[in-house]
């Protein structure tokens, strides 16, 4: 972008020698309590999303009682504004958010990393073209681009996944490029080139492993944002109507908060636990990566 933002970006995201294998970074981050707590929270919600539909006492759209009735032995968390069982809908409502968020983030990480590494390795006009293209994509807030996509194509799950992935790509690409740039300048890359190693193998075999640390930090951050965005789009009423989805549930039951809070409160708690969990894991990984860099600097 500019000298200033490069300077800031470098200071923030690009540690000098991030050559740590991803698995070892993950293992080391497990020594931190915040990572463990995060894993427990995320594990709980993922488990809920996987086995929830089998445990649910009712179907997601079954009418089980009067609308907005308070918790009772029939409906542990009461019923929602249509008389559907809140607990069953919460148990059904996690899958779509989780699957969509993971797909969108994974897609963005693959494409964004490829673009960032190629840009850093090219060291020519291609770098500028790619990164200016990323700037353009970043000039629109993520949720706005997702809304525009939904307005044009329709509120299908794949549209939301692609739109979130597309807007996440430039953010990943910047991190990948920032982390790869110092590596590109180092001697072993020049040595590989001199030995005639194919360029794609230099990018995949030499650059990629050396950028995994910052990429994992960014990917975990982006997963948190993707979950938030997908839940927010459902909350805005832009997903399949009346699907059992935490975001949709919150919107539908918001107006009766004063009468029967659980219809909105239960999915709010589920989303909050999930994003706080991914946030804690991301912070654990970030702290571990920073700690490793600091230790290297002192060597």
């Amino acid at each position: 972008m500019s000298q200033v933002s490069d300077w800031v970006a470098d200071a923030e995201i690009a540690p000098p020698l991030p050559a740590v294998r991803g698995t070892s970074l993950l293992r080391r981050s497990l020594k931190l309590w915040r990572t463990r707590i995060g894993l427990v929270l995320v594990g709980f919600i993922v488990l809920l999303a996987i086995v929830g539909p089998y445990l649910a006492p009712y179907g997601p759209s079954a009418a089980v009682g009067a609308p907005n009735s308070n918790p009772s032995s029939q409906a542990v968390l009461g019923t929602d504004y249509l008389g559907q069982d809140v607990l069953s809908r919460v148990l059904y409502g996690g899958r779509s958010i989780l699957v969509m968020a993971v797909l969108a983030t994974a897609l963005a990480v693959v494409v964004g990393t490829a673009i960032g590494l190629v840009a850093a390795y090219s060291r020519n006009a291609l770098d500028d073209v790619l990164m200016r293209g990323m700037d353009v994509l970043m000039a629109l807030p993520q949720i706005l681009l997702a809304l525009v996509a939904v307005a044009i194509v329709g509120p299908h799950a794949w549209v939301i996944v692609v739109a979130i992935a597309l807007t996440t790509v430039p953010r990943i690409a910047r991190v990948a490029r920032g982390a790869a740039q110092p590596v590109v300048e180092r001697d072993f890359i020049a040595a590989s080139e001199a030995m005639g190693v194919p360029r794609w193998r230099i990018v995949a075999g030499e650059l990629l492993p050396n950028t995994l640390g910052p990429l994992m930090v960014e990917a975990s951050l982006r997963l948190t944002y993707s979950i938030a965005l997908i839940a927010a789009l459902a909350y805005l009423g832009l997903s399949t109507p009346n699907s059992a989805n935490w975001g949709t549930m919150i919107q539908q039951n918001q107006l009766v908060l004063a009468v029967q809070p659980w219809g909105a409160v239960a999915p709010i708690i589920a989303i909050a636990l999930l994003t706080m969990g991914t946030g804690l894991i991301g912070d654990g990984i970030a702290r571990t990566a920073a700690g490793i860099d600091r230790a290297r600097g002192e060597e």
Binding site: M1, S2, Q3, V4, S5, W7, V8, A11, E12, R34, R132, D135, V136, A139, L140, P141, Q142, I143, L144, L147, V148, A149, V150, A151, I152, T224, I227, A228, L229, A231, A232, Y235, L236, G237, L238, I250, Q254, L257, A258, P261, A264, V265, I268, I271, A272, T275, M276, T278, G279, L280, D283
Partner: protein, 324 residues
Amino acid sequence: MSRFRPRGVWGFILRRLLLGIVVLILVSILVFLATQALPGDPALAILGRSATPQSLAALRRQLHLDQPVFTQYWTWVTGLLRGNLGRSLEAQEPISTLLSPKLVNSAVLVALAAILSIPLSIAIGAWAALKREKVFDQASSNLLLLLAALPEFVVALVLVILFATTVSHVLPAISTIPPGSRPWNNWVALVLPTLTLVIAVVPYVSRIMRASMIEVLESDYVEMARLKGLPERTVLIRHALPNALGPVFQVIALNLAYLAGGIIVIEFVFNYSGIGGAIREAVVNHDLPVIQALAMLIAAVYVILNLLADVATILVTPKLRTRL
């Protein structure tokens, strides 16, 4: 050297300005292509399958769909530059008339959030850096980490539950600004939306402020200033703070730009009549001209804020100013 300094700064600003204009042109092409020149018939997409041939033809004329794509784009962009944003399909009104009161409402909300959150987060970040690894630092950074992970609408709804519905009733749950009324005449309605935006911004800015301040506090010139025997107040306010603020301006600008997107959800939560709510409405109603106008508006705000951030960073960071 000093004779070249202003030229360097102005040259830098000019370069950033040109880059910003290029980005905006590319964004306009992107927005235009996405909303107008899609494969298929936008008029049909807007009106739906039940449209009559007459209404389709009328809408095509109104959207200039009967002209070549480049002419359509040119008409639209030159219109934007002259302040003609087009007509809303839903309200059948000029978009500028429709949006200007909402723009004021949103601007008040974002400005209020910025005025409150920027000093607050700088103070929290700087204080945490000074008390590094002490109780305040650890408590604030853990709390802010958890807050940062929450989606804004979850924060908003927790505030609604705490202050407006389930737990207590001290504030209104709905922040509608009646047409013709101004937000500052409805200040009670502004409390919860503003608080949500503040909570959305403070974690990021204070975190960067803390990291930046720690780096500066460990620097040689701060040690030098201390060794000279300057009072700690002078060391912090004259030497440490200005240099620590550099990276923070970038993050503030990015967060304000982010707020431009964040208000979409927040305004919907509180039924606040601003441009965020207008975008959501336009998406639900397939009102493509309104979506185009708002997307360009938000992109322009974003580019301008980034430009201001770069300039502010240059002006406030002495070591960068000399590097230009």
